[in-house]
Structures are given as structure tokens and as C-alpha cells.
Amino acid sequence: MISLTINGKSYAADVTADTPLLWVLRDTLGLTGTKYGCGIEVCGACTVWIDGSAEKSCDVSVSEAVGRQITTIEGLSPTGTHAAQLAWIAEQVPQCGYCQSGMLMATAKLLRENSNPSDAAIDSAIGNLCACGTYPRVRAAIHRAAALLAKR
């Protein structure tokens, strides 16, 4: 049994130590908001936070995640009202939506470090693949989220 702390809660998973965190989240624990896109760290669909840093969970073995604080899209905000989530709705960002959990986790991490990111900062921080091409709206939503944060 492997013990994990995810979104502030304790979980136990009966998996082999080499299982990627991604699959433990999705299959073992039912936290399916985190997505499988490439499995080789190039798309960002599986992005979660581990001890506050945005990581691609397809390339983190569950044993490496033990004893660390893991945050998934389900835990980004208990009410779904993180500034980025509100901005995403206001800008009508998602199309198919498959990449958006990863986009949001990367964005929320960026905003925590830089509450008013420039376009250049966005470009370097948000490398996630969106096959639906929502990038212009993602950019607009990040700026909107920054404005929301400034008002809070």
C-alpha cells in the first residue's frame, strides 16, 4: 500500500512503485480530471502540482510522490472559483476541454508566482498542447484572471 496526500486528503493505493502518478490518480483513485495525452512529458495534459511545483504526472512515479503535497484540478479550488477558473468561463476558453485541466494547473502556478504576467511570461510558462487551438483565449483568460486577482 502506498500512501498519498492529494488535495489535502489521505489516500492509499495498492499499486507497484513504478506506476506513474497519473495512472494512480486516474485509475486507482478516480481523480480523472488529470488527463493522459502523450505519456512522455510533451503535452502537459497531466499537469498537477507536487509541493507547489507544476509537474507532469505521467513522468512521476507514485513512489516519488509519497510524502509530498499533491494538488490536482479537483483540488484547485473547492468551489471551482479560482480566478483562473472564473476567467476561463468568462472567456469561454475550452473547446473539447481535454487539455484544460493541465492548462489551468500550469496557469494557476504561474499566477501564484507572478500575479500579473506579461505575454512573454505566459509564453514561457504555458507550454501545454491544445489540439483545439484555444491559445488566444487562454492568453486572454490569464490576463483576465490577473485582473480578478488584483481586485481581490
Binding site: R26, G80, T134
Partner: protein, 723 residues
């Protein structure tokens, strides 16, 4: 579905058949078994509309959602006639299968940008029918006649005394009112109130918090997890069932693949890697090699037997009148769909039933697939449509559905099948490669008087057995025939390529190929004549009011009339497809060479205009165009699937790049509605102009004409972020 097996039906025409039949299905046929009394008990007014006592209105979306927004825009049309407050509307995905009368199968299909076009009238009627039944019940409750009632925001008012009653209060009674056969369509006289507005999409909040359930997220109690490995050589077959690897629960053989079942997806993926499989190579494998395929295409171009797709005027006379001939040959590669959600399907087969949860563009076809494999009647098969993480034409196919049904049947348990990403890339139904030769003839005054366009490509319909012998594959010539330009003598021909690469419907299908050739060639002619490409197109489109309006709008949006700064250039492309008209201007900037890098370009901005007749939800139309431009540009810049002796050379996104935030251009979209015009599609028409607009911009910037895709040399993919 039956239509599929009818050989002469093209994809688009069979969708039309299906869509035409859907109007009649809306209310009268799509009633759950159990009948109208069951509806009343559930507060369901019709199969499309149910209203709860808290006034929540739930409207069913009949077309599967793959990101194109129809899960919301179709209910928006119902809500228009239903006269309800959009903020109180919930939408739900309509299932196919046992709980609905099985004539539904065959009507639920998303492709050909047909959803809104196919369902529009039916959805209006569905809303109007429900409204009329609700108002009738309300009138009874208010003790007055229907004529004395008005309705807005789900509240019915007796105009004689101001008394009101809500939909929620009369929903159960309304379900027992006789269904009006010819309901009054209010919007036909008063105009639209909700249609034509950018009402927020209902699926979006769930896509910001991880709660939206995609196919790959489905969880069924007691389910096992499966994965598949296909023959590495396309067309190869399994020689014998391999031994079960450690960790696997079972191995399930297929003709061209092996499935493994395990306790979770990761264990199944690992087991796939441990399989020791022997495959039988097909005789066709050696020829499935890039150089051979291209050489064959070139040979077929010169000596193949062309099939005539279109003749306009007299090509012979046009050729004779030509003083100058321009020969332009364009080459396009095979492409993968590369949906971010890999193929997957969850199925629970029992001796008496089959339930499917699938990210599918064609739920009706899934019923047929499952019936064939299980031997169960369609009434015992239920298909639940869930969100698709992209469809793009790939999730219309049945291969992954059939595998999941077979595995669940073999296990006697629910099973979720997930394809590893590499299997998804290597076993696609690829957008065909094509070689296209356009010859344009100019008379002594420089007027274009002759146009011939010969296309060599594989037949998508032919590979499926849907093309009569000797016929032209409509998919291969879409966008080459019916050219909007008044070149009066034209010939469009197609030569089927003999390659055996599996080919399929990729967003915009033949248009994605032919628009590149046609719009590049038109630009080349304009350049040859020294005429502004916009003016040249305008001249050849005299009388095409809508087309000219789109061109003029894109010219304004892109500041076409102003000369760009040094090192910046613009390219224009125009294309009509799926009943819509799109023009795009791509603006690029030269990035100077350095000691270590060649000169490249940067995408500055794309201006795009669409006239889709009626835009049900303009913001969603704009989103579709933005996405289509990104996809079209990514493919034009970098994407290509190559083959070596039958083995595809791409297995993940690292070898199939696309634009990311840092290289994505700004995209400005204008949506034109033409009142009274037929409704056009919006999911696909944004793709075709992107590649030629980029090539035309590059030619304007450098004088170099790129006739072969992808144009990888002009821009280096920078990948994602810094890490």
C-alpha cells in the same frame, strides 16, 4: 447503419439522408420506451425537454460533443422556441440505443460540419412543440384559452387578468397534452431572440474543474482495463496468440492486434511491452514507403487514367486560346488526427445486454458494431455518448469500439480499453497524401481562360467499398470542383492512387488538400500578372455578393490596403466549404538568420472572416475558426506522417509538432450572418484557407513559392515551455 453500406452514397450525402430523417425523429420517435405516462412521471414534456419543479429546464443535445459546441448550440435552438431563460437551462447528451426507439441509430452522427445544419429545423420544432404543450396545460390551469396566453422565460401569463403559472408547475400535465403535429414556430415571425447571441456554452464550467467526463474517464463498477498493440506494419496480421505476460489478466487476439486486460491501464500498457508477438507481414508492406508512394503519384499524374470530376465551358477551346501556360504542382503529406484524447471505449457486455460509453462521433454506428459482434438485437444495446477530447473525423471510425466490445464479451465483465498514444498515431486513418497539378492558361491580354486541375490521391470512400467502380471520389475532389472563380473553361480530374495506407476523414477532408492547391495557384497567377491578389480574386468573383463581402471584410480586418512594414508580409486565401465562406489573411514577419540559424518567419496575426449564413452562437463560431486556423497552420508548418515499408514514422507528439502558446498568432475573427441564407457548417471551413494563406504570405515576403507541405523550413517548432 444501413446507409453506410450503400455504395454510391458519399459521406456527405449519407449524412444528409440521416439529417433529413432526423427532423421527423425529434419528438414523435424519440420517446423512451414506457411511453407518455412515464414521461409525465418524470416531468419530461418531450424526449427533448424536461422541466423540473424548480423550473430547471433540461434539453437534450442529440449530436455528440467533441469541442465544437453543439452540446450547447443545439439546445440553444430548442430554447429559442421554448421561451425559457438560458441561465436556467441544463443540457444533457442524448444517448443512442435501447431506451430510445432504434430508428434513432443512423441519425446521430457528427461530421461534415452538419450538426446545426442538419438539426436546426428539428430543434426549432422540438422547442415549439414542447412550448405549445406547456402553454396548453398552463391555459387549462389558468382557466383560459391558449389565445389569451403569452409566454416568456418559462412563465405563462393570462393576458386577461395577469395571472401567471410557471412551466415547472404544469410540466407533468403538459406531457399528457396531445402532441401538436404542426406547432407554431414563433421565431419565423418575430425573429430570433436567443439564436444569434453568444449564449455561454453549458459544457464549459465542467471543463474548468475536472468534472467533465470524457470517454477515457468513464468508470463502471467492477471494470477491468485493457490496452491494444497493433501490427507494427500496417495491414499485418497476428500469426498466433502470444503468451500472457506477467501482470496481465488475459490476452485477447484480433486479426491485426493483440489486446491485454489488466487491473489498471498502466499495468495493461506495461504488459503490452512485454508481449512477444509474431506478425505476418502483408505483401503490400514494401510499397508503403514514402519515396515509392511519391514516385507512384508522379507516375499516375503523367500516365494514370484520370476520372473527370468536372468540366466547365470548353477546356479544349480554353487551352487553344491560351498564350501562356502556368504549370504548378503541389504535394501534400499524410496527416494524423492526433486528438489529444487517445482512442478509448468502455463496454459492458452481458449475455443479454451491451452498454457502451464511447467518445464517438457516430453513436448510431456503435449500435451496429456491437450488434454484429455480440449477436444482440439493437434494442439490447445502449450507447452513452460522453465528451470527446477531440474527434476531428477519427472518432467516427469503429475499430476501437469493436475491440472494446470484443474484449468485454470475452471477459464477461465491463472493460475500459485505452490505446497507448503510440498506437493512436500509428494506427490512424490518415488524411491522404496528394499530388495536384494545376495548369492555368492566360490569353494574350493576360485573362485566365483555362484551368486544369488533376489530383492524384487515395480514395477514402473506395477503401471502404463505398465507391462504385470508375466513379470519382467526391471526398478527393471537394474544394477543387465548384471553384468560385470565373475562369470559364475548366477541367478537374482525379486519378486514384494505388497505395494501401489506411485513409480517412480528417477535419475538412478533401478541402484541406484542394484549397491549398487552388488558393496557392490563384495567388501565383496574380503574382505572374502583377495584380494584387485581393483585386485579382475580386475580379473573378463578380456577382458573388456574399463572397465579395467576405473578401472585403477580411481586407478591412487585416488592413490589407496598407503596405506592411519592412520584413512583414500578408497572404490571402478564400475558400467555400460545408455551406460556409471563409477568407483568411496571414501576416508573417521575417526573422533574420544568425550565425547558427537560417532565416525563418514568425506568425504575427491571422484575420479570418466567416459567413455561415446564420451563426447560432457567434462566439462559438469564432472559437471554431480560431481553432481551425491553429490546426491548419500547425499542419501546414510541420506535420507529416511518413511510412517505411508499412511502418508509420510518428508515434507521439514530439514528432508531430503543433503550435503552442509561444508561437501561436493572434487571431481576429469576424462572423457574418446573411439573413435568409442556408445555414453553413462551422467546425471545418476554417481549416482549408490557413495553409495557402501562409504559403501566399511567404511568397509575398520572400518571392519563394512553397508548393510542398509541410513548410518546416520556414519556422522552427519551439515546443512547449522552458522545462
Amino acid at each position: 447503419m444501413n446507409e453506410i453500406s450503400t455504395p454510391e452514397l458519399s459521406r456527405r450525402s449519407f449524412i444528409k439522408v440521416a439529417a433529413a430523417s432526423s427532423g421527423g425523429l425529434m419528438l414523435t420517435v424519440m420517446l423512451p420506451l414506457g411511453g407518455r405516462a412515464a414521461l409525465a412521471a418524470a416531468g419530461t414534456v418531450t424526449a427533448y425537454v424536461s422541466i423540473a419543479s424548480d423550473e430547471t429546464v433540461t434539453i437534450m443535445a442529440p449530436a455528440p460533443e467533441m469541442g465544437q459546441g453543439t452540446m450547447s448550440t443545439l439546445p440553444q435552438i430548442v430554447a429559442e422556441e421554448l421561451c425559457v431563460d438560458w441561465s436556467k437551462v441544463k443540457v444533457a447528451q442524448a444517448p443512442a440505443g435501447a431506451s430510445y426507439v432504434n430508428t434513432v441509430t443512423g441519425s446521430q452522427l457528427v461530421g461534415g460540419s452538419m450538426s446545426v445544419r442538419g438539426y436546426f429545423q428539428g430543434m426549432l420544432k422540438a422547442g415549439a412543440t414542447a412550448r405549445q404543450m406547456l402553454v396548453s396545460a398552463a391555459a387549462t390551469q389558468l382557466g383560459t384559452s391558449i389565445a389569451n396566453c403569452t409566454v416568456a422565460n418559462g412563465i405563462v401569463t393570462n393576458t386577461l387578468n395577469g395571472a401567471t403559472v410557471t412551466y415547472g408547475a404544469v410540466a407533468a400535465a403538459a406531457a399528457l397534452v396531445p402532441v401538436p403535429s404542426d406547432p407554431v414556430i414563433l421565431s419565423s415571425t418575430r425573429g430570433y431572440k436567443l439564436v444569434g447571441t453568444s449564449a455561454p456554452r453549458k459544457d464549459i464550467p465542467s471543463k474548468t474543474n475536472g468534472s467533465a467526463i470524457f470517454g477515457i474517464d468513464v468508470r463502471v463498477p467492477g471494470m477491468l482495463y485493457a490496452a491494444v498493440k497493433h501490427s507494427p506494419v500496417l495491414g499485418g496480421t497476428l500469426a498466433s496468440t502470444p503468451a500472457k505476460p506477467s501482470g496481465a489478466i488475459a490476452v485477447v487476439p484480433f486479426k491485426n492486434a493483440v489486446g491485454v486486460v489488466a487491473k489498471d491501464t498502466w499495468t495493461a500498457f506495461k504488459a503490452l511491452n512485454q508481449l512477444s508477438v509474431s506478425w505476418t507481414r502483408p505483401a503490400t508492406a514494401a510499397a508503403m514507403t514514402d519515396a515509392t508512394i511519391l514516385a507512384t503519384a508522379n507516375t499516375l499524374m503523367t500516365s494514370g487514367t484520370p476520372r473527370v470530376a468536372e468540366t466547365v465551358g470548353s477546356p479544349t477551346a480554353g487551352l487553344a486560346a491560351s498564350a501562356t501556360l502556368l504549370n504548378m504542382t503541389y504535394t501534400l503529406p499524410y496527416l494524423a488526427h492526433a486528438c489529444l484524447e487517445p482512442l478509448n471505449c468502455t463496454v459492458s457486455v452481458t449475455p443479454t445486454s451491451c452498454e457502451i460509453w464511447a467518445p464517438t462521433q457516430a453513436p448510431g454506428m456503435c449500435v451496429q458494431t456491437a450488434a454484429t459482434i455480440t449477436g444482440l438485437p439493437a434494442s439490447a444495446i445502449k450507447v452513452n455518448t460522453v465528451h470527446m477530447g477531440g474527434g476531428l473525423g477519427r472518432k467516427f471510425e469503429q475499430d476501437y469500439i469493436a475491440q472494446a466490445v470484443t474484449i468485454s464479451k470475452a471477459m464477461g465483465k465491463p472493460v475500459k480499453l485505452t490505446w497507448p498514444r503510440s498506437e493512436d498515431f500509428r494506427n490512424d486513418q490518415y488524411r491522404p497524401m496528394a499530388v495536384t497539378k494545376i495548369t492555368a492558361g492566360l490569353d494574350t491580354y493576360g485573362n485566365p481562360v483555362y484551368w486544369s486541375n488533376r489530383i492524384v490521391s487515395q480514395s477514402i470512400l473506395g477503401q471502404r467499398g463505398w465507391l462504385p467502380s470508375g466513379a470519382v471520389d467526391s471526398q478527393a475532389v471537394d474544394g477543387a470542383v465548384g471553384m468560385p472563380y470565373a475562369i470559364n473553361n475548366r477541367l478537374v480530374e482525379w486519378v486514384p492512387h494505388t497505395a494501401t495506407v489506411p485513409v480517412g476523414f480528417w477535419r475538412s477532408v478533401g478541402h484541406s488538400i484542394n484549397a491549398f492547391a487552388v488558393e496557392s495557384a490563384i495567388d501565383e497567377i496574380a503574382t505572374k500578372l502583377g495584380v494584387n491578389p485581393l483585386a485579382f480574386r475580386r475580379r473573378l468573383m463578380v456577382g458573388n455578393t456574399r463572397g465579395l463581402a467576405v473578401l472585403d471584410r477580411v481586407a478591412a480586418l487585416s488592413n490589407w490596403a496598407t503596405t506592411p512594414a519592412a520584413g512583414i508580409a500578408r497572404g490571402l486565401a478564400y475558400h467555400e466549404s460545408f455551406g460556409s465562406i471563409v477568407a483568411q489573411v496571414v501576416e508573417i514577419q521575417r526573422v533574420a538568420a544568425t550565425a547558427t540559424t537560417a532565416a525563418t518567419v514568425k506568425l504575427l496575426r491571422v484575420s479570418a472572416v466567416i459567413d455561415c449564413g446564420l451563426a447560432v452562437n457567434p462566439d462559438n463560431v469564432a472559437a471554431q475558426i480560431q481553432g481551425a486556423v491553429m490546426q491548419g497552420l500547425s499542419a501546414a508548418l510541420w506535420d507529416k506522417i511518413g511510412f517505411n515499408s508499412g511502418v508509420p514514422n510518428v508515434s507521439n507528439f514530439n514528432a508531430y509538432p503543433s503550435l503552442r502558446m509561444r508561437q501561436a498568432p493572434r487571431i481576429d475573427v469576424a462572423v457574418i450572418s446573411t439573413p435568409g441564407a442556408a445555414i453553413g457548417g462551422v467546425g471545418e471551413p476554417g481549416v482549408p484557407p490557413a495553409a495557402p494563406a501562409l504559403a501566399n504570405a511567404y511568397a509575398a515576403l520572400t518571392g519563394i513559392r512553397l508548393r510542398s507541405l509541410p513548410m518546416s523550413s520556414i519556422m522552427t517548432n519551439m515546443g512547449g515551455g522552458d522545462d
